[in-house]
Amino acid sequence: LADKTDAFREGLKELLPRLWRFCLVLTGNRSAADDLTQAACVRALERRHQMREDTRLDRWVFRIAQTIWLNDLRAAKIRRGKGMMQPEEADLIDPAASAELTLYLAQVLSGVMELPEAQRMVIFLVCVEGYSYKEAAEHMGVPIGTVMSRLAAARARLSAMTEGVPVKDRER
């Protein structure tokens, strides 16, 4: 069991950058992402015995973070009068990250983060985390048709946004 424990801890440690990024996509806010990452780790540790052998750690922990966000933190944030989460652009990309991003990539990032929450998540899961439509549907607890219509709506918005950006400016 000790080895298993260690493997779980190591797995969680390796996952932290991606988990935090996932939380950032959910919350649209860096400090809320810190809190959510932390809460998801705590809960994952508390419930690690419930994780099935054939489950991928990353997807299981993402699911935990999503549940905490939907059930608790978002509701609390709205209750506190902060309204629906709109990404705070200045807060989103820290200087270290923006140094790495070309103008085009920064625009792409803002474009995704400005999407409505459900569209933002589905684009992130499919394009960044490599989920299939079916896996994204399972993660979000919605029918696959809903995932596809959210994807279509999100793609239409993102496509309109980058329309007219010359290909040479897209180089990175």
Binding site: L24, S31, D34, E46, H49, V112, S132
Partner: protein, 253 residues
């Protein structure tokens, strides 16, 4: 060419992502050769997926996770010889969680010094509690009694299940945490509105003091000292409720 079944945007994105069934894919491919408006619709759904991936990978590389990684390296008690019971496991997880709370005060990523007082450390931990953390715990009286006895023994203070009864609060769990190497007992409750409330105790060596109220990291709390131990009731409930619970517990313990 017009298809008998109109092509939806959902089908077009599946076409772009190459996950459409082969027969429909062929139909759409043929239609695209001659249907200009369909070509425009397809173009309007095209996105630069590589750019999206690259942008988010850059974000992940700057995730402020160093302190948390450090905690996962250092803040973990080495496992005991042999197997760990789930009881013991959850306590170790809790100690780890408290460590995270100390390192990540308020989620701002500011690493606080270890000499902050235990009230703040507990508050840091308590803010992570949500109804769901406690609601799903089984109400197994026998194991609760055992847990309380184990925590009480470790703390060096006699605390019985009866002494922990507070009108209006449903007892959920006893946990042994630790703060600066000293045992810290946490008894978790849900109030009538399902708000998590914790009653905590640790040896402080402080002089006796009556119940006072205050706030730690935004959470209201009622705290007191007696016999060299510090006690606190804390949670996102009304301060009057916490003060009342503190009064009851101070009499019973």
């Amino acid at each position: 060419m017009r298809l008998a079944v109109p092509i939806t945007d959902e089908e077009l994105i599946a076409y772009l992502d190459d996950v459409l069934d082969p027969a429909r894919r062929r139909e759409i491919g043929i239609a695209l050769e001659s249907d200009e408006s369909l070509q425009h619709r397809l173009a309007a759904l095209f996105i630069d997926k590589d750019a999206i991936k690259a942008a988010f990978d850059a974000v992940a590389r700057t995730a402020p996770v160093q302190h948390m990684q450090q905690r996962l390296d250092d803040g973990w008690e080495p496992s005991q010889q042999g197997g760990l019971s789930s009881w013991r496991w959850s306590r170790i997880a809790a100690v780890f969680a408290l460590g995270i709370g100390l390192g990540y005060a308020g989620g701002a990523g500011v690493y606080k010094s270890r000499d902050q007082n235990w009230h703040e450390a507990v508050a840091n931990y308590q803010v992570l509690y949500v109804t769901g953390t406690l609601a799903s715990l089984p109400a197994d009286m026998e194991s609760q009694r055992n847990d309380i006895a184990a925590v009480s023994a470790k703390l060096g203070l006699s605390i019985t299940p009866e002494a922990l009864r507070v009108p209006g609060l449903g007892f959920k769990r006893a946990q042994l945490l630790q703060f600066q190497g000293r045992p810290l007992a946490q008894f978790a409750y849900l109030d009538a509105d399902d708000v998590p409330v914790a009653f905590c105790a640790t040896r402080t060596g402080d002089a006796d003091s009556p119940v006072k109220t205050g706030r730690f990291h935004g959470l209201p709390a009622a705290f007191w000292s007696r016999g060299g131990y510090g006690f606190m009731v804390i949670g996102a409930a009304r301060v009057e409720e916490l003060e009342h619970a503190a009064g009851v517990l101070a009499k019973q313990i």
